[in-house]
Symmetry: C2
Subunit: 549 residues, 2 copies
């Protein structure tokens, strides 16, 4: 029988840009197509997407992309993949609704093959099939996938938690996981993000209690910040606001758009009369107001951050406001978030963060006991944690081992390295083309490592340009050379001394030296670089322009 | 009677660069002289120090600098202050020993007035006096200061915790705090960093237990990373290593230097035969080795980070190594730390972080109940939290209020705004010169906001230089113009199209246009900037050089 290969193009050994390829002979299904956020070593990078080379090379085999849910780290790179291949995209109604506007920006919606699935459907994809199973998470219509292969079921949990009192009342189909276990799960690809949290995660329901407490006690307005896609959280805000006699306005274009779409499709039920426009907030006293806002990650251009800097025209923070952080910081954003929190305190607001004094956020990912329950239900032969960094993978596998799974059936996957299942065994194959692609703010992918290195160097010590005009025929310098610096700082006068030395060196050159423009350019750069480094220990970028006249 | 002013030049409303001025008439004492670390918006900045303008303007009144302890955020900017004024520096023997090498790098030690105090001394400083009181923290010989003024005692706690089983066995002088309370504390300036942690912080002693567990269970080598100044932690490592049959080597120049100094002065007691040189580790099997290393904050040039990248010549991470993170991440360093942790896991090592599964780190700062105990002991009339961000100050004051302190005697101080005590009242005065001074890697202070802005712009979208040679007399362009880009990325061919447009525009200029060099330069920059921004939404820095030949 043929081999089955599982290849993560992103999302294992890292958190973000989830994209998993499952291949059986000439049939490929792709699970999720997400993006990652740049880290502080990637200035000028808007988003990070997977390298799709492997899929492009096997374009004719791709039977479809299946989306587990509508979070950016699972759907955000879809426009970039669809640009390369117009393959069918299977997702829930909700997920399709949420990604529509993003797809529209970059592609012609009418030409796309967007297909909606219902939980329980079995979608044939060549020799493979995909069955979506409902499972709870911090977003509606979240799905696990059972992919049936010649070697048994591959179960991809996607992001999940077992929440027995979800906000939308729609429970995980636990029984189905058990049935699939009985049918035979050959490989479990499990969420592992929260594996370092012992016990069982709290239900989303407790956030309502926390919000109720804060909304009741707050003497002024309440502002709440969360991700624009956190529809459940917004539902809770509207409900608690209705109970506690507050109207709810919203700032942030994307959040507002999501509220509109979800209300229309029935995923968000706003109690009558609770929603108001931002312009209407002056019609109500502060204690009757709540405001939803973006900016939970300290994003510089977000409404909340601009409010904290008193630079937001439409809304000003006032003494007596209470601001609720109802989201977990994405690693790397902590410092920016604290700066915002502190600015808000300085403006006389109170800020509820870290769920003190009331629980105002819970994670959407399974804790240890939930992860174990998934293993218990599905009884997989092989296990491989996904959606986790090496530290999470390591801990997940040590827990699986404690549960009695032998080490040789446990896999620490890596992006780009196929996990191959054949009749009798599983092993890691030869790495395929795989990596990260950096997209700039113009939406153009492919910022190179060299450009990134240059940017980091430019940022560190700035740059110095030297412009010299040469008449190569005559072998002489024409006019006055020019030196300019940007972003450079060093001991006083160091640039003046550097240019004196440079001009002395230029004047000492003979006609022959001045005819070799390339060498002249290199020599100028070397001289300046060495002098500056010796004097200051700094390494600004040196950019010589030798112009022939 | 005269006024007493308390002016923080750093360290309130922020964590870092602690420096507090206490002034009574013509007498000034300075408590601490620390640095802060740059955040991600400050590329190329090595350290951040206070603006000393106020002290420089009042140089003749400064009776001395008093150091609470040897952490960088309390002593790191001292060389920069002493460069401006050679005032006496009072500190414990240990603190002096730790700062010596840093002072030596920048100043002539022999000319400095370094004075050692013992706990219990009362040091006269003009009309003020300063009494150091021993209090526990994560470093030896840590001090609070009682400053006697005409209006009573100002008690500056400095960094502290109440640890009843400190590693060096030297207990806080709780009784003295109580006696000072009886004498009359007019103002308590209290540490507030950990005010959001309820209860009582664990003793440093429990770290030994955690280390013992990890050292015993680890099958291979143990590497432990902490701050180079954490002498207590190193003491524990040596002791636990001796107990568990391991030798201890050290990587990291500064750490090694501190170990030497502290051993010589009797602050570090290394059991006989435990300390080995790094070169000697090959003489022992892995299970008999422990290694101290710098790099707990993910610093790119540190030994541990380089080891994680397999770029460290003197020591390689091996499968089976256990790495202990025995330090708290400074906010902003989280992402870099996680990257290192994950790389270590990838190399087959186990990493103990977040004190799981064993407690391998405790904080050196007082938790809520300890902070309350300090208030209880000293019974201050006025209270002002220091060493905290606005969120900490806010919480501290709400706790003080709960303890019965009336709101009008509680102060949220700000850097540079004097807290003035007179006979009957306290109030916040007029802001003095105050701010942050950014020091580059050459040690030169004063990186301007403009340079910082340029650096951030350069990093974001890179830069484009255009070089044009003009003969202004003839009113014509000479030779071929040149365009160069660094760190720039955009849609393919955009630079070629930009230069075509630019050359067309240049060719259309008449002789008069070409004679006004400044205008020509501006026009070139404008044209290019607008074109690039319109085509790409990017804003690279444009640097035109128009050279006259």
């Amino acid at each position: 029988m043929s081999k089955v290969e599982v290849i993560a193009l992103g999302g294992v050994g890292e958190i973000g840009k989830n994209c998993t390829v499952i291949r059986q002979d000439d049939d490929i299904v792709v699970i999720d197509c997400g993006l990652a956020f740049p880290n502080e070593e990637m200035p000028g990078v808007d988003i990070v997407i997977p390298d799709f080379t492997y899929l492009i090379e096997n374009k004719d085999k791709v039977r479809g992309v299946f989306l587990t849910h509508a979070h950016e780290d699972h759907v955000g790179s879809l426009p970039y993949l669809l640009r390369e291949m117009n393959v069918p995209v299977y997702a829930s109604t909700f997920t399709h609704a949420m990604i529509q506007s993003k797809l529209e920006e970059k592609l012609n919606l009418k030409e796309l093959k967007l297909k909606t699935f219902a939980f329980g459907d079995i979608i044939q994809a060549g020799s493979l099939s995909v069955e979506p199973i409902r499972v709870t998470h911090s977003i509606p219509e979240n799905s696990s996938f059972a992919i049936r292969t010649g070697h048994g079921i591959i179960l991809m949990t996607g992001d999940f938690k077992f929440d027995f009192s979800p906000v939308d009342g729609k429970l995980s189909n636990i029984t189905r996981f058990g049935q699939l276990g009985e049918e035979g799960v050959v490989l479990l690809l499990s969420d592992s993000t929260n594996v370092d949290r012992p016990g069982w995660g709290p239900s989303e329901r407790i956030v309502s209690e926390g919000l109720r407490r804060v909304f009741t006690q707050a003497e002024g307005r309440v502002l709440l910040t969360t991700f624009a896609s956190n529809i459940h959280r917004m539902q809770q805000v509207y409900e608690v606001a209705a109970e506690t006699g507050r109207k709810v306005a919203c700032v942030g274009r994307r959040m507002e758009n999501n509220i509109d779409v979800c209300t229309r499709l029935g995923y968000l039920h706003i109690p009558k009369g609770v929603r108001i426009k931002l312009d209407e907030i002056n019609d109500y006293p502060p204690e009757q107001l709540a405001i939803l806002t973006t900016g939970s990650q300290g994003e510089p251009m977000s409404a909340l951050v601009q409010m904290s800097k008193q630079e937001y025209g439409r809304l000003q923070i006032k003494e007596g406001d209470t601001i609720i952080y109802s989201a977990r910081p994405i690693p790397g954003n902590e410092a920016a978030i604290w700066r915002t929190v502190n600015r808000l305190f300085r403006l006389g607001a109170k800020v509820v963060y870290d769920s003190h004094p009331a629980p105002v956020h819970v994670s959407g990912h399974a804790y240890q006991e939930e992860l174990k329950m998934m293993i218990n239900l599905t009884r997989p032969f092989y296990l491989a944690p996904v959606h986790g960094e090496p530290r999470h993978q390591h801990l997940y596998l040590s827990i699986a081992e404690q549960m009695g799974h032998p080490e040789h059936r446990l896999f620490t996957m890596e992006d780009g390295v196929p996990l191959v299942l054949d009749e009798t065994t599983a092993y890691q194959g030869e790495r395929v083309a795989c990596g990260r692609v950096l997209v700039d703010y113009s939406g153009t992918p492919g910022i190179s490592d060299e450009v990134l290195r240059d940017r980091n160097n430019l940022a560190r010590d700035g740059m110095i340009t030297v412009t010299v005009a040469v008449d190569p025929e005559a072998g002489e310098i024409v006019g006055d050379p020019m030196i300019q610096a940007k972003g450079f700082h060093g001991p006083e006068g160091v640039l003046d001394r550097a240019s004196d030395i440079l001009w002395d060196a230029l004047n000492a050159l003979n006609k022959a030296d001045l005819r070799d423009i390339d060498k002249l350019r290199r020599d100028i750069a070397d001289l300046l670089r060495k002098y500056i480094q010796k004097q200051t220990n700094l390494r600004p970028m040196i950019l010589p322009s030798v112009i022939e006249v």
